[in-house]
């Protein structure tokens, strides 16, 4: 629960940082989508290290998507759906098709 709350607060500041700081460093009109990058990192690393679905990855997808919607002109839920879809997609792919063996020595 604490992890989930920390993830929500983190995603809130991340979106504010992305929308107000990183927006100055756009290249040819494109701004880096830090939320999407972190979403992929969270989901991939957690899914690889656990048998279950990435819990934090899903929470992050949900909260980051929500705050992106709040601070954009889109309807509430658009980025939530996109981020959740990406998160679930990567979780499914990794669980079904990726095997990681860690040797302990």
């Amino acid at each position: 629960m604490k992890k989930a709350l920390a993830t929500i607060i983190f995603s809130y500041f991340l979106i504010l940082f992305q929308n107000n700081f990183l927006v100055h460093f756009s290249l040819a009109g494109w701004t880096i989508n830090l939320a999407l990058i972190l979403l992929l990192i969270f989901n991939i690393t957690e899914a690889l290290g656990s048998e279950r679905f990435s819990k934090i990855g899903l929470v992050f997808a949900f909260s980051a998507g929500f705050f992106l919607d709040v601070f954009s002109s889109s309807f509430l839920g658009r980025n939530v759906l996109i981020f959740l879809a990406i998160s679930l997609f990567f979780n499914l792919i990794i669980k079904r098709h990726v095997r990681v063996s860690i040797s302990k020595g």
Binding site: L16, N19, V23, F25, F66, V70, F71, L76
Partner: protein, 265 residues
């Protein structure tokens, strides 16, 4: 299928959360304004930090490209200077042509406009930027843009010509005094921008300040063109003729454009 089993519980909560989020759209304005309000201080700080960081990095980037930009600008300055010089030439040419139109020279003569490109190191000779390719030939008279007799072409090349000024020692021609038709004489160049009005009848009423015009009798210069002003009269009781020092009307320093008379109309 047990939808409330452990396997599907997560999907149940996710669906519920999505529905909740979507239902917030009914209060979209209120929801967004709430978050904007509480986020304003953080947003402002991030924004200002972004502006500062961006200006810092862009100044770093600018200094990197400054050398190249400087080189480009220097090259552009040179191009503009060249263009400016060309435009100034056009302005000078335009002014000369306007002056000629005002004087009505084009009514009597076929004229070619040429630019003075230099003065010969010795003798009262000048170079102009038109030659045989422009239809010039030896013996064609030169007028200043004010319509004052300046010289005669002595050597013609393809794209430039050499002309002797009327003060050149090799130039001499017949002239008369304006308003005093009976006073005629021979204008002879002395070199060093000086010339004399010689062979004037002893009894003539020549005065200092009189204007001397060409008569065209020698067949080189057209008649009635201004030559110079009587500066000093040298009268010798023993000599059969009077002689006067003439001051040419044209000023070599301000001579930039010249008309060449290629023919009469």
């Amino acid at each position: 299928m047990n939808f409330f089993g452990k396997k599907y519980r997560k999907f149940f909560w996710i669906t519920l959360a999505i529905l909740f989020i979507l239902s917030l759209n009914f209060f979209r304005t209120e929801t967004k304004s709430f978050f904007y309000e509480i986020s304003y201080p953080v947003q402002k700080n991030f924004w200002e930090a972004g502006v500062r960081a961006f200006s810092y990095f862009s100044s770093l980037g600018q200094s990197y490209f400054l050398k190249e930009e400087n080189r480009i600008l220097e090259s552009r300055i040179l191009d503009l200077l060249e263009e400016n010089m060309r435009l100034k030439e056009f302005v000078g040419e335009n002014q000369a042509l306007r002056q000629a139109l005002n004087l009505g020279l084009e009514k009597d003569f076929n004229l070619k406009l040429a630019e003075l490109t230099g003065k010969a190191s010795q003798g009262d000779s000048i170079f102009i930027n038109k030659g045989s390719s422009s239809g010039l030939s030896e013996g064609m008279p030169l007028l200043s843009v004010e319509g004052i007799l300046a010289g005669v072409i002595t050597e013609v090349y393809n794209d430039f010509s050499r002309a002797s000024l009327i003060t050149n020692e090799d130039v001499s021609f017949n002239a008369r005094v304006e308003g005093k038709e009976d006073i005629q004489g021979l204008v002879k160049g002395k070199g060093g921008m000086e010339m004399v009005f010689d062979l004037i009848p002893r009894t003539s009423d020549l005065k200092e300040g009189d204007m001397v015009l060409s008569t065209g009798l020698e067949g080189i210069f057209p008649p009635g063109i201004m030559v110079g002003q009587v500066k000093e009269i040298e009268a010798d009781d023993a000599a059969p003729f009077k002689r006067a020092v003439l001051e040419p009307y044209f000023d070599l320093e301000s001579l930039e454009w010249l008309f060449i008379i290629t023919g009469t109309k």
